[in-house]
Structures are given as structure tokens and as C-alpha cells.
Symmetry: C2
Subunit: 447 residues, 2 copies
């Protein structure tokens, strides 16, 4: 049996890209991100040396803490066979998240859960590689019972039970192939988030809008939340360029209090945004519910900083979330994503994954594909975020055509990083950082 291979060694890497040098990714909350990955490689005794690769995304300092947490989880995987996990992926998830001492550090949130994301996704990557399928296909080939058995229903049975989930999936089963054919032909719609970072000049903003339009993009997103006057000014520039041809989204990156979000959106509604993203703290379910009610028909989008299925459950129960933005790392990996996709399908809430950073586009394409193929069965009003950074570091990078993500074809979960990138961007020993750190030493960082 193919899955009888054993995990014989685990490598952990701290990889960082100095993106803050060019204001890439700057927003009201995150002013100087260095896109980073706490990266894990599961080495096996497979005759072809197959490896499972997983990463969790951070924005720089603290990436070493996630790496440390991956090390703490490693004894749960080392010297185990892949089949001991794949024979019951639900049990695998509760084993990884259920170590009582490590659970205390969350539970199921923050650093330990970010690290869980790297580890769980690496196991899924290995599983898919062994089965010689891209991840979406591995999942699409599962029966409803198999797919549902990957999910931990603990704490969510008040909104969905395994039986209900299986029934939902069975309704979609006979038409799966039709949707795969659709994706093979058309891909999955993407939106381009790169036009409206705060650090960009007006000139660059206009240029990027024009480029996006020329390249066939249908959506653009802008950052808001640093200063209302400035938000209005920049939104005017963008609308001046894109008109009503492209849909505009706004992203406040958690900068507002609840009542402040409502007041500001009353004014920004003049630009007719499709959604307002992260208007306030990702922990504030009741706050999001109040905002959603006040700003309708503008949708409230959130999720990239939401910690687990329990928070997503409540955002859905409370009508607080109009757009569900899953993150492939923060919630601990594929199993938890499936729980969230099932709930979103039940509540008929469109899933538009969070991406960008490093490796997130590579990850989330699989998640939207499987959502369409097997779970929600819907694609309208759904888009995957796309940012054109750092894809060159991956062996199997995303492919975008006419503003759509094409179906990934290579086996695995698409986040295998090139060996030379792992080495060059390794922190602090890689070539890129050696020169960077020499500069920092000349100007003291502590003041």
C-alpha cells in the first residue's frame, strides 16, 4: 500500500522575504511586512524520496516562534506511517490539536495553530503526492462520507452534524464532473489586490488601475482605515480610473471600532464598494453583526484573522459575515477549512479566500476549487484573492489566465518551495539577509 511510507525526518526552516523594502503589502495595520514562512519538510522513506511540504505565513519578526512551535509538534509525526494518519484524517486532526499540554497555548488559536497549519498541510501535501493527485483532486475523489470524516465537529454540532454534512454533499455528487470540466475550461475567477496598498503614490495608484483594467481584471481592492479624508481621496482616484467596469472592494484591516466603522462606511458607501473587509477586530462577532446590519447592502467580509471553526460558526449564526475569507494557515489547515466550507455552504455564504503573502495563492486555489466541485457547488459571486508577488519561489506556482486561476495539475498542495529559495532567503543565515542585517547593525534597531 502506497501510504505505508514512514516520516523519518522533519526539517523546519525560517524563510523571510524582505518585502518591506518596497512598501509591498503595506496597509493601515501592517506598515512594514516582510512576507515570511515557517516552513516544514516531512522526509520519508519513499523510494522516490517523496516529501511533504507545508508552510505557515507570517509577516516577519516572530516567524522563529512559529518555527519553534512546528518543532514542538514534530514528535507527533516523527516515525509514524502516512497511513496511520490517512486511514482516519479526523482522528489525525484531533491528535495534532489535542495534545493537552500544547492545546493550553491556544486553544486552537495563535502561534500553536499557525504552526498546526504548516504541519497539517504538509501531511495533506504528502498524501496528495503519494496518490499522484493535486490536492483538490484528492479531495474531489473522496466520497461524501470520506470527506466529512476529515472534519472535527466538536463545538459546531449546534449548527451542523456529520449526517447533515453528508446529505449536503450527496446532493452535489452526481454533478461533480460537470464542475470539474467547467474549471478545466474556465478556471476560477480571481481578483487583484495589488492596486491599493497605502504606501503607493497617486501616480502608481493610477498606473496600477490602468494596468489591471488592461489585463482583464474585473475587481480591485483598496486599503482604507488610516485616515478618512485620505480614503475618500484615494477612492475617488480609483473610481475615476475604473468607473463601473470593475468592482471595487475596501479593506480596513481592523482599524476601526464598531461605531466608527459604521460612521465611516456611511461616507465611503458613495463609492459603491462590493464589500468592506475587516472593519474591526476579527474577534468581535457581535460587532461585525452590528456593522453588517448597518452597512447593508454592502457586504462585511472577514476571516483572514479568524482563528478557528468556532469563530466562523458564530459569524455565520449572527449574520455578521457576508463574505467568508478563509485563510489556509491560520485555522490550522485543510481539515478545519473543510469544516468552515461546510458551514458556509449551509448558510449560503460565498467563500472568497484570503491570499497574497507568500504561498497563500498556491494554497487557496485548491480550497476554492473543492468548494465549487464538492461542497457549495457554486461559483457566482466568488473570487480568489490574487497578488503577483513571490510566485517565482515555488516549484508549481499558480497560473493565472484572463483573471482566472487555472486548475492546478501537479500532485500535492503546490507550496513546495525551490531549494535555492529556501537557502537564499533563510533567516538570518541566507545571502539576502546577511547583507540586510549588516545594514541594520550600522543603524541600531533599538531606540
Amino acid at each position: 500500500m502506497k501510504q505505508q511510507i514512514k516520516i523519518v525526518d522533519i526539517e523546519v526552516h525560517d524563510v523571510r522575504f524582505p518585502t518591506s523594502r518596497n512598501f509591498i503589502g503595506s496597509d493601515a495595520m501592517n506598515t512594514d511586512p516582510d512576507y515570511s514562512a515557517a516552513y516544514v519538510i516531512l522526509k520519508t522513506d519513499h523510494p522516490n524520496n517523496l516529501e511533504g511540504h507545508g508552510l505557515t505565513f507570517t509577516i516577519g519578526r516572530g516567524n522563529e516562534i512559529c518555527a519553534k512551535a512546528i518543532e514542538a509538534l514534530s514528535p507527533l509525526l516523527l516515525n509514524k506511517t502516512l497511513s496511520s494518519f490517512t486511514e482516519d484524517m479526523g482522528a489525525f486532526w484531533t491528535m495534532i490539536t489535542g495534545d493537552s499540554q500544547l492545546r493550553w497555548l491556544g486553544p486552537e488559536k495563535g502561534v500553536i495553530h499557525l504552526a498546526t497549519g504548516a504541519v497539517v498541510n504538509a501531511v495533506w501535501d504528502l498524501y496528495a503526492k503519494v496518490e499522484e493527485k493535486p490536492l483538490w483532486k484528492l479531495l474531489a475523489d473522496m466520497t461524501p462520507e470520506q470527506l466529512v470524516s476529515c472534519v472535527d465537529f466538536k463545538y459546531i454540532t449546534d449548527v451542523i452534524t456529520p449526517e447533515e454534512a453528508i446529505a449536503m454533499l450527496k446532493e452535489k455528487e452526481s454533478t461533480k464532473q460537470k464542475r470539474i470540466t467547467y474549471l478545466e475550461k474556465n478556471g476560477y475567477p480571481a481578483y487583484n489586490t495589488s492596486v491599493g496598498w497605502l504606501g503607493y503614490s497617486d501616480k502608481k495608484l493610477r498606473e496600477l488601475c490602468r494596468e489591471a483594467k488592461a489585463a482583464g481584471w474585473k475587481y480591485v481592492k483598496m486599503k482604507v482605515g488610516s485616515n478618512l479624508g485620505e480614503d475618500i481621496r484615494r477612492a475617488s482616484i480609483i473610481k475615476d480610473e475604473i468607473g463601473e467596469d470593475l468592482k471595487l472592494m475596501m479593506d480596513a484591516n481592523q482599524k476601526w471600532d464598531v461605531d466608527e466603522a459604521i460612521e465611516n462606511m456611511k461616507i465611503l458607501s458613495q463609492f459603491n464598494p462590493w464589500w468592506i473587509e475587516e472593519p474591526t477586530s476579527p474577534d468581535d462577532i457581535l460587532g461585525h453583526a452590528k456593522i453588517a446590519k448597518a452597512v447593508a447592502p454592502i457586504h462585511v467580509a472577514t476571516g483572514e484573522h479568524c482563528q478557528n471553526r468556532i469563530i466562523f460558526k458564530q459569524l455565520m449564526q449572527a449574520d455578521a459575515m457576508g463574505i467568508c475569507q478563509i485563510d489556509s494557515c491560520r485555522v490550522g489547515g485543510v481539515n478545519e477549512i473543510l469544516a468552515i466550507l461546510l458551514m458556509a455552504a449551509k448558510f449560503a455564504i460565498p467563500v472568497c479566500p484570503h491570499a497574497g503573502g507568500v504561498g497563500l495563492c498556491e494554497y487557496v486555489q485548491h480550497l476554492s476549487m473543492i468548494d465549487y466541485i464538492s461542497i457549495s457547488g457554486r461559483i457566482e459571486n466568488r473570487v480568489i484573492e490574487y497578488v503577483d508577488h513571490l510566485h517565482e519561489h515555488f516549484v508549481d506556482p499558480v497560473v493565472i489566465k484572463n483573471g482566472n486561476y487555472l486548475l492546478p495539475a501537479a500532485p500535492g498542495y503546490s507550496v513546495t518551495m525551490k531549494k535555492e529559495s529556501l537557502k537564499e532567503y533563510s533567516f538570518p543565515s541566507g545571502a539576502i539577509w546577511k547583507s540586510e542585517l549588516e545594514n541594520i547593525i550600522k543603524t541600531p534597531i533599538i531606540n
Copy 2:
């Protein structure tokens, strides 16, 4: 000026106590805790070598991750003067929690926030030592404006504003000294949590109940949630021993789903518990609200695993929390605790802090004292958890008399650990662990 001292060095220790050897602290969720502290010492250039000590509590594995996170926060403190923090403690808090790259790891939750608790509490400890006051007294001597200026109102202005908080404190100001005198005479009521751990035999359970009664305790708490039949059996034994003389509390340690909690509490209500603690996931605000409504007049108690002021805000808004159980480390330290105490006072919800573990009793006594003296002004229906473990490792341990915590008198925040304990229980190099690890190596941990 006394606070012109500078932080010249920062020491981080990984300290662990092998409490799992005797089933101490065992409950349905945490079966084998080794009470541990990620411990920080702020060294200064003070002529008397004054140091700020802080710890964050964990239950074993993963303590090294918190230690790593404390190291990541250390550059924010190193070579700074104490006065640069104390001149605006609110700004100090937003500086510590606002590093954009580290914030990504939470935000304000999990490992990075546990580490924040150690660091923030160490600064408060140093501040109190420099002022030669116990922490409660340092806070009690502040004006309402000063106390409120320590609080971050971000994301909670929809339930309380600084102006409102100041007005609340002003009402209590003229009677503060009366309450201090009361505490000097009577202390603050405690409850004893040690009788009902799951690992104990029936015989030990009966013995502990009798001892608790004989020692003058008025409350006992039992663990529930592993098995309903077993819970009923053990509750019967405890009630048989304590009758109606002592109040009984139950603690489910997050073992139940929402509807399961409601069903089980219908049956366990026959034992007339004062509260049910952590009936379900600490993240489930709407779930707690549903349970609270269903089990009234039994109170729902939660908080020890709640991550920050935003979760507490919602639990209060939703009538989901009948008893507010703050934890001195998990929410990031004193400043955040003040935010929560202010909201609890506004909603008239009794605060009964989570303690036990290592150092938590030493910490929380100050918090309940200041709540009574300056914030809620109330003491009825309020008790501080007490567990009689590991106090011998502290220089200034709690003192309990007739079931009450006595007012701490020594300067600081009471968690300065003895130098020899820091050394002996250091993980993995301390004497205690060297022998423990030798045993483990004989029986492999990975299976």
C-alpha cells in the same frame, strides 16, 4: 526621579514542575499537566539591583515556545527607562501589543499574548517595587484618570468609554480607604479548588472534602465532563460530605458541545451548583449565551481561556457570562485586566479570578483587591480561586487565613521566584528534570 532606572538586561527562563507525577491538576481536558512558567527577569541599573519579575503560566510542553516569544518581545524593553513606560502606561501597552509583525501572530491571543502577559506583568512588578508598594496599592493610589489611562479602549468603545470609566471610578473614590481597612481586617474570600480533580480516588475525594470543611472553607469545586454517570457519582459523594454547608461549583473544562452542556446540566442541577465553569469552547460567545439562558439560575462561569478584552466584552454584552474568571497571564497582563474589570463593573458581573497552576494565586490576589478597592467596590458573591500547590517557590507567597487571602504587603506583584527554584526546576537542565528525562529516555516518548 525613582523611575529613571534603565532595563539593562533581560533573562528568560523555562521553569517546569513535574506535577503530572501525582495527577495534580488533572481534569477532563488536561490529563497530565506539568505546571510551568515562561519566566522573565528585567535587570536594571537601580542602585539596589531592583528587578522586575513576570511569568506566564503553561502546563508543560510548549513552555519553550512562550519563552521564545518573550525573547521576541524583549527588544521592545531593552535599554529603555522605566519612566518611559510609566509616564503613559496606556502607550506602553499599545507599544508592546502593537508591533505590527508580532501582532500578526495573534492578534492579541495565543502564545504571543501569553508572552505579553509575562513581559507586561514584569514591568508592573518593577514599577511597584520601585515605588515600594504592593501592586494593589500602587493601583489604589492612582487617581481615576491615572488608572483609566492604563487601559486600551480600542475595540471596546461600543460598551465603555474612558469618560464613562473615569466617572465610575470617581463614585468609588471617597470610600476607597474604608474598603482597604476592611481587607486589612478580613482579607478577601477564597475558594478551594483542590477537592475534585478527576485523577483522585473516592477515598481521597471524601478525605479532601472533610479537610476542606474542617479548615473553614466555604466553597469547593469539582471537575465534571469526562463521563456523565461518573460526574453524578462523584457529585453525590461530595454532596454527601459537604451537604449545604459549603457551596459547590462544577468545572467542565470545555468538554461539551453547546446542546450537550444544556442536557447534562439539566441533570447535574440536582446537586445545586453555584456555577458551571467552561461548559464549552471559550471562543463560543453565542454558545455560552444559549447555555446561560437554559441553565439559569445556575451561573455560567468562564474566562480563564478567553483571549482578550474583546471576547470578554461580547460575553458580557450577550448575557453569556454570569461569573467573570480573569486569568492574569492569558490576556496579556495588568492593563488588559483593568479593561475587563471596568467592563465587569459596568455590567455588574462578579469577578472570580482563575488561579492555581504556579504563581497564579500570587498574581490574582492583587487583581481582586483592586477590583474591590477602586473599581467594582463590591466583594459579595466574589471569591478568588485557591490551590495549595507550589507556593513554596515564591519569595512572597500568598497567605491564607480562615479561607481568606490576606492583603499582600511586600512591594511588587508577588511572583518573584526563589533563585534556587528557578535553577532546580529549569527545563531541561535543572536537577529535577535531569533525573526525569533519564527515565523518559529509557521508555521512548514517540510511539
